[in-house]
């Protein structure tokens, strides 16, 4: 059976989630492997969510937020940028393929970009194969 | 007092690995191996790893009978009822090899806790019945470790209590004496062991006698006196405050201790399947006494340390007629801030 990646998407309400919505209303095609969770801001994201996601079987995690400077709450994504950068370094040093976590800034009007990023990321994860290191077998 | 049988065998120390291999044929062998941090008991996969060149292990052998994680039930969450099935404890005979006298004594102490009154812990009981214990006398030609104080608890360096077979070293040879009928049976099955002479018999008997004279740091401790004294000074915050001032409340002491047995029961679920497990807990953890209401009677470090010491030297004598400590010294050696329970007891008795 061909491997279908399971990708968790975490999107901020004001920018990326709206951008994803735009991609939908403009009928842009992108792979269905993405399961999206909406948060109000990327700074809500606890790095432990990402570890948890990998433990529960996610093959990739895609985080989308407002462009730095455009955060609905002014500074949220600026903190998130630092925090998630550290998370990436930690996962990398632990030996998890760093490419499995991706952080993108996608605004509400960038429906195209959203679709493009999802297409690209899904292909990348498909290439990397199933994530087995962190995954807990039930 | 178990009647001493007359079966005494021996083997060369360098042939330990052959003995190990023979035991592995008959069941599961758990013996000391050298690790980065020191010696530790491990289930042996390669007979070459067994080593009797150690003083004592870092972690105690209690995990053999009381594993850190014990599965009780496996369950599947479903409607209308969740299915739960008990986990069958299927184990092969276990040979626990190289256990020092303080640790063999600890099993008897834990027996009282796990088999109190009429309620017997079936997991504990089954594991105990399935194991044959090879006790191992301390060396008498070198001084004891500074941390040890088993003499205070009435344990000898060559104490056979709690062993099925007792081992004593004679230079390059290892003497093995049967103590129980289980031990006698096993010794007769281990045909690779050599017969012994009357010289060996005399050496063994003398060794045990010398073992009685060999002392660690010690003081005269009456169980009743200790229990009473700790009751008396319970509210002496000055004493307990000072005693606990360095304590980190990390819990290492309870993890390495052969007589600590506190546990938690947890349902560990993932998606719809899960297991109910018993896992080691520690009275030194801050949330050990955290109640559902949010109240915690032991928020201070000194309260928890006081509880730990009193449990061993006061509550246990009152309830189970035994001091729950064997003076093995592990907590003293492992404590990151060098807290010494012997000093605590000694100071308390002077108040």
């Amino acid at each position: 059976m061909d491997f279908e990646p399971k990708i968790l998407g975490i999107a901020c309400n004001w920018c990326t989630y709206t951008g994803a919505d735009l991609a939908g209303t403009t009928r842009l095609k992108y792979p269905q492997n993405l399961r999206v969770i909406r948060v109000m801001c990327t700074s809500r994201i606890n790095p432990s969510f990402i570890i948890r996601a990998f433990q529960l079987g996610a093959d990739g995690v895609l985080i989308g937020g407002c462009h730095p400077g455009d955060c609905h709450y002014n500074t949220g994504n600026l903190y998130a940028r630092r925090r998630l950068a550290v998370t990436k370094k930690i996962l990398n040093f632990a030996g998890l393929e760093a490419k499995r976590l991706r952080v993108e800034w996608i605004s509400a009007s960038e429906g195209n970009k959203f679709a493009e990023v999802v297409r690209e990321f899904t292909a990348q994860i498909r290439n990397l194969g199933p994530q087995t290191k962190f995954k807990i077998s039930p | 007092m178990i009647e001493e049988r007359l079966v005494l065998k021996k083997t060369a120390i360098e042939k330990i690995n052959e003995l190990a291999a023979a035991l592995m044929e008959m069941g599961t062998l758990i013996a000391p191996v050298q690790e980065a941090v020191g010696a530790n008991f491990k289930t042996i996969e390669n007979p070459q790893e067994v080593s009797l060149d150690f003083y004592n292990t870092v972690l105690s052998p209690k995990f053999v009978f009381f594993p850190q994680t014990e599965n009780f039930l496996s369950y599947q969450i479903a409607k209308p009822f969740t299915n739960a099935e008990p986990v069958e404890l299927a184990i092969t005979p276990v040979f626990l090899f190289g256990v020092r006298p303080c640790d063999t004594r600890s099993f008897a102490i834990l027996d009282r806790h796990f088999e109190a009154s009429s309620i017997v812990d079936p997991y504990w009981r089954k594991r105990r019945e399935n194991a044959t214990i090879f006790g191992y006398a301390f060396a008498l030609d070198t001084p004891p470790d500074n941390a040890d104080f088993y003499s205070m608890l009435g344990i000898h360096a060559a104490d056979t209590e709690g062993s099925d077979i007792f081992m004593v070293r004679n230079d390059g040879e290892l003497l093995l004496k049967s103590i129980t009928s289980k031990g006698e049976q096993l010794l007769s099955e281990l045909t690779l062991l050599q017969e012994t002479s009357s010289d060996d018999e005399n050496y063994y008997t003398e060794y045990l006698a010398r073992g009685r004279e060999y002392k660690t740091r010690t003081l005269c401790l009456e169980q009743e006196t200790a229990a009473g004294k700790f009751e008396e000074i319970f509210y002496n915050n000055d004493f307990w405050g000072k005693t606990a001032s360095a304590c980190l409340s990390c819990g290492i002491c309870t993890f390495v201790c052969p007589t600590c047995y506190c546990f938690d029961i947890c349902d560990e679920t993932m998606f719809k399947k899960g297991t109910r497990r018993r896992v080691w807990d520690s009275c030194m953890f801050t949330d050990f006494t955290l109640e559902a209401s949010g109240h915690n009677p032991r928020t201070n470090v000194f309260q928890r340390l006081r509880q730990k010491v009193c449990h061993k030297y006061s509550y246990s004598p009152r309830k189970y007629d035994v001091i729950s400590c064997v003076g093995c010294g592990r907590c003293v050696r492992s404590c990151p801030v060098n807290i010494d329970i012997y000093s605590i007891v000694s100071s308390a008795l002077k108040i």
């Binding site: 950068a85 990398n92 040093f93 | 850190q68 993890f255 953890f285």
Partner: protein, 303 residues
């Protein structure tokens, strides 16, 4: 001072430092003076243990207690972790070595203690020895700085070394490994964890009440020491300490199963320094990097 070291290790060729005996004398005299004058209510230092190799952290409350104070190469404990045990406002004198002082700087940065309530007795030394194995403690397992970065009274001459080793040199072989090799390494190490939480208790920066791992809603990890839970605990802890860990190495020294946690903490510290151009615990005016940001932070850090 006995210059023994085991395993043929090369001794740190540092500059001559003030002898331990002299430091001990000065420490005791300062402690006495401060307690007698009532300038502080407690002096956090080291006291006699069962033997010379095993001193204990010690809180002197009266001038009579000062007699018990010692200082030698085995006084490795980081006294910063006891500061938060005292009610806010308590005047405390505390003996701090180089890296210990950095921990106090972080606590001040985070508003957990007030600089005005502390009298810091700084101890410059590069000759501390591990209590378990007697080996010199240097930049391979800690941050390696000899002189306190914050102090009121210095109890010895500052140590100036000809060459200062980087605390990140020891990471090279691990950074060079490929991902799978690194995963195998950490998987093996973290599998041994027995979840005794000594690492957390030894760390001056782990003061959260409750700690995330103790919370039941949400339950981040099961209580039993299995790899998945151990990973969640340790990796999250590395994240929580990013930009706050000062590389004192206590977590690794207290671990009963000898997991080299300091390696991971060093890696995170190195990455934070590279990404955010700031070192943890150096100046009290700084903000820890994770509770701070620059608009001009580069997106490259997310690659």
């Amino acid at each position: 001072m006995n210059g023994k070291s085991c395993c043929g290790d090369i001794e740190t060729a540092g500059d001559k430092m003030t002898g331990f005996h002299e430091i001990e004398e000065r420490l005791k005299s300062e402690a006495f003076r401060l307690l007698q004058a009532g300038e502080v209510s407690v002096v956090l230092a080291y006291g006699k243990g069962t033997d010379e190799r095993h001193p204990v952290p010690f809180a002197a409350l009266t001038t009579a207690d000062v007699e018990n104070i010692v200082f030698n190469e085995h006084c490795t404990h980081n006294m910063a972790r006891y500061l938060l045990r005292y009610p806010s406002g308590t005047k405390i004198a505390v003996a701090l070595k180089g890296v210990d002082s950095r921990a106090v700087v972080v606590l001040i940065q985070e508003g957990k203690i007030n600089r005005d309530n502390l009298v810091i007795l700084g101890i410059p030394t590069n000759s501390m020895r591990n209590q378990q194995n007697g080996q010199i403690i240097d930049a391979r397992t800690t941050c390696g700085i000899a002189n306190p970065v914050l102090f009121d009274i210095l109890l010895g001459e500052e140590v100036h070394e000809a060459t200062v080793a980087s605390p990140y040199d020891v990471l090279a072989p691990y950074e060079a490994m490929d991902e799978d090799a690194r995963w195998n390494f950490w998987k093996t190490e973290l599998d041994r964890c027995i979840r005794c939480y000594a690492c957390r208790k030894a760390c001056p920066m782990c003061y959260c009440d409750p700690c995330f791992i103790d919370v039941t809603k949400p339950r981040w990890a099961n209580k039993s020491p299995q790899l998945a839970g151990n990973l969640m605990y340790h990796l999250t802890r590395f994240q929580h300490l990013a930009g706050r860990c000062v590389d004192c190495g206590e977590c690794s020294r207290v671990c009963p199963v000898a997991i080299p946690l300091y390696l991971f903490h060093k890696k995170v510290a190195k990455d934070c320094e590279e990404m955010f151009q700031q070192t943890a615990g150096m100046r009290i005016e700084d903000k820890p990097v994770i509770v701070d940001f620059r608009v001009e932070d580069s997106d490259k850090i997310l690659e």
